[in-house]
Symmetry: C3
Subunit: 445 residues, 3 copies
């Protein structure tokens, strides 16, 4: 009844998507990136970005240590070759090669012998989860430390230990990656992920890998907006990018931070600071349609790089898409955030959700009914099913036509109309396409 | 304690109303109109309007076929004299004289012999209700058909049938009626009902007949507003009226479509597209006071002629008052929507509700406390009951005085104050009258 | 972690408050004021104010009878020396010396003999509470009467009674008291209590006595606002003050009527007419933090002197703080509203709540983040706890820092931020102090 879409509104990205395959693709990439020891600077980030660059076009930026970035300075670059604690028998009782979580990130170099009592203040473990290694950092306070399981720790005897952290902390660079897919209109959509965590999967290799798969799919799509993917170290990386791109940031019309997006929990969305930005309403709509139990939470100034994008001097419309949010799963910032915590089906569902969000962003707009006095006669244009025998689908399409015609006075977007009518955006979009094709609708200036 | 009202605010229309008698009057009129075969044009509408004209002053308008009305044209006029299906024995197995629902409205003339198999695509019945005849129309697609009960249909044998529809579909006119009761101020109240349905009672002889009784009662009332009653064929009739009265339509300050208003269900109200128009708030208040379980629903672009009045090019403040809304009762658009489905008590209750709505519309307004600094001394004006022994009524009247004085800063209407105070509008109105009489209140410009 | 406050924001009034002692102090004062026979004019009010003047600096004002006050005139002054009903045996069966509630306030003088039948229309009792004496007044209608317990009344036999009310109703003055504690900024906070009730404790010696204790404590506090305490006869006293201080009234930025504030019920707040004034939001916040079950009710034009302060010509932001509101406890306006109905612990809790409200009012304000682009680096300023081991308190302080920095764009006050963050105002205030000290925050102009 509604003619097959020929207008730009009717592009669809999900058509060729084999969801199961996409989930496997994202999980495989996490597996490849998992062993690398990343931090907010250093070769681990570079290696990660090189792997990503094999799949999508990415500019790798190097920002020198000491560069000012608003209230901050780029720190010295940290790299690590080896680290261990050897007992008096010369056995490595804690070994960086076994897990890169064993060393507190940004630990200064140390090579010393000490008693257990002297060592204890430098050890971190989780009594409640005796087999898990915690993840700790100390970026801005010069110190060193080891993370180990409670089981390892309690096995330590009172003897003399040889402690070695073969790290360097020197002037160098902060490294980040940026993938930009230009669109036909001005205005950008930002996807931001943090690439500073070592062997942790949900937080945040899930976000990194999903962003790559999303970018791959958007590459082959006709794009209204420019899509910018940032692979940045958390906090200082986002601050560096904003500092170097103050003007460009003002072009961001919609944005999402992707984090903790691969576990088996339900989807959740944290609103941007604006709370009623289009991205907030789009994600709300998509979640309402796909996962009515999905959580939507108000903005708060903790979390990931939305803290920077939503600082009052920028106040960008950037929310956070997650499954189980950070800090709400026990494995958070421990060695248990491993390859088993994330699964292909959840990753695929998250990707599909991102694509649905893109679909709404691309198609949303405000239109004018060109025949606003009384209803136009839909029947003579073949837009109405004939007498009798309407299917439920037909009735939804007719409802969408009437809703759009009634509401399109220039103040209500298609997304608003989807909300008022309770119809999925895709149904509204298809009806709008039909009305545009028939000249009953035109874009509102 | 509050002086008996002498101001214009204190007119009351319900005083002489014998509710039981009114219900009977409305039901009797439905009974008289029931046998007539109406459609969107033709002699059935004319006969209906002639009967109404015997009770209230009504202008009958004839709009020629082919006249343009926005995106539409007035269709050819349809009339029917007879129709039947005869079996091979010459017996009428379906007979228009038994029920005018038997013929699909706007069926083109047909006179033919055909097998049951040839006849079947032209037959309509309701398997779930084997004794009911459905109501079908085909205004804008040239075809013909018969509606019959499932029981009749299943009794048809495989034989040769004589099929006759003795109808005409020719250039002529669309007919509608208009009753206008002028008021003392500019601004109109519109009551609109559709007169295009044949032998169906709740939808919508209930609305037609109630409108006549309402107009009769408003005739003898002092009127602030002009009251315009439209008796129009659904959709095309409302479109025709709006097309011929574009300027006049802008004078409509409040309006109600009356439909499905005679069944035993509770009252329900569908808001205008504006949602917060005065009529929306007035009806909400009246329902809250009289029937707290009454339903209020948001606007949607399906239903009756509110679709036209609330199209974005007009956006008039017109809601719909019903009992059980269209499509929510099983008998809807079937022969079971008959004289038993509507009853005098429900019709009387609906009329009383309409009169209460009129009462609020007529008396509502925004006033200024002429003594706005501190409370004025009500006691010295005899507005306060003396010490002790207040009745509940007295307390409500005192509360109303205080509420009006406190809120009347020119931004709050009496209806707003009724809402804030939780007092019935009639109590607020009486108190406002007393304050006007005492010079403590004056109209806000 | 957050430096101990050195800024003006960090004054705290509760530090030296021994709550138990404060409750006893308020209750003792109620006990001293209880026996005095007050009315809207007369020596009882003067004696009450003299006692208060022994504790706080108070100006006692005398407004002559006949003085115009908006729609009102100051009434004649009423005083009473004695009153009784003697039976034929010469025994006082009703005796003013036993309770000053026995005489209807403002009773005209009477000295007469009459039968029980003649006496009855002048007697008031409460059948449902046979031991309680009701409290009655007749300020603006010249009459006389006795209030007595139902038990007393039913014991009266049919004999000749000697009736004496030794009162005077003559030109004189209306007396009220005013305590003004000047502040460093323009803008006043008004605390208003009514001093016209005779031997009644919760209504309103609780409010009178609590106001005195509050004023004593605010005297020794550094004050941003001017604090004005009014001890006025209900209605006519507030009207007199507003009439004599029209200009000054416009300086009132926040206000509270204190009434029925000593019983054992939970705290309740009645909003100002504005509903969203700062005082409304401050009290809501304080109650939410201290007594989540505390009631907040919308404004209504009955009650105490908020009726005058919130009349539309003034519309001052004045709410009412009570425990059990007037009319919602059985003892209201009876002899059972005695020294047992109020208790020291409840009075202390009410005082503490008032002090908390003052604390928020004094410290609230709107600030600007001086480093609004991205988060400033809190760590280098010592505002962040170091790695690991955060206490819950530290985490709240860090959260407060982030919330303030994120929200301080000049549109959100500290109170708004407390509301959004769910953190107590005191935590927000401490964090704001630290940020001001570090130059990361400055007052918004």
């Amino acid at each position: 009844m509604i003619p097959a879409g020929r207008s730009p509104l009717d592009e669809t990205v999900s058509q060729s998507l084999d969801i199961e395959q996409a989930g496997g693709e994202i999980h495989d990439r996490i597996r490849r990136l998992y062993p690398i020891c990343r931090s907010i600077t250093g070769n681990g980030v570079r290696e990660t970005l090189r792997i990503i660059a094999g799949e999508i076009p990415i500019d790798i930026r190097e920002v020198p240590s000491g560069t000012a970035a608003f209230d901050w300075h780029i720190p010295r670059e940290w790299n690590i070759r080896d680290a261990y604690i050897k007992n008096s028998a010369g056995e490595r009782v804690v070994d960086f090669n076994a897990s890169n979580l064993h060393v507190v990130s940004y630990s200064v170099p140390v090579r010393s012998r000490m008693s257990l009592a002297q060592l204890q203040p430098h050890l971190f473990s989780i009594p409640d989860h005796p087999d898990w290694i915690p993840y700790k950092t100390s970026y801005y306070r010069e110190t060193w430390g080891f993370c180990l399981s409670e089981r390892q720790r309690s096995a330590l005897r009172d003897e003399l230990y040889e402690v070695c952290i073969d790290s360097t902390l020197e002037n160098g660079h902060l490294t980040y990656g940026e993938c930009c897919l230009p669109g036909t209109e001005t205005g950008e959509v930002l996807f931001s992920t943090h690439v500073c965590h070592p062997s942790l999967c949900n937080d945040n290799l899930s976000g990194v890998s999903l962003a790559v798969s999303l970018a791959k799919r958007l590459q082959s799509r006709k794009r209204r907006y420019t899509y910018r993917f940032l692979f940045v170290p958390g906090t200082i990386g986002a601050i560096a990018w904003l500092s170097l791109n103050e003007k460009r940031a003002t072009a961001v019309k919609h944005g999402l931070v992707l984090a903790c997006i691969g576990d088996r929990g339900r989807l959740s969305y944290k609103q941007s600071r604006q709370g009623i930005a289009e991205i907030d309403r789009v994600v709300q709509h998509v979640l309402t349609q796909s996962d009515p139990g999905g959580r939507v939470e108000e903005f708060s100034p903790y979390g990931y790089d939305e803290r920077q994008y939503c600082s009052p001097g920028f106040n960008l419309p950037v929310g956070v898409l997650s499954r189980t949010p950070h800090g709400q799963f026990a494995e958070y910032h421990t060695s248990a955030d491993n390859l088993d915590l994330v699964d292909a089906a959840s990753l695929a569902d998250s990707l599909e959700t991102c694509l649905s969000i893109v679909e709404v962003l691309e198609a949303n707009g405000t239109f004018l009914n060109t025949s606003p006095k009384c209803e136009p006669q839909l029947g003579k244009r073949g837009l109405y099913a004939a007498m009798g025998g309407h299917s439920a689908d037909n009735r939804r399409q007719e409802a969408a036509l009437l809703w759009i015609l009634n509401q399109s006075d220039g103040t209500q977007s298609l997304l608003d109309i989807a909300g008022k009518s309770g119809l999925p955006f895709a149904v509204i979009r298809a009806a709008a396409t039909a009305l545009l094709d028939n000249g009953l609708l035109r874009p509102s200036v």
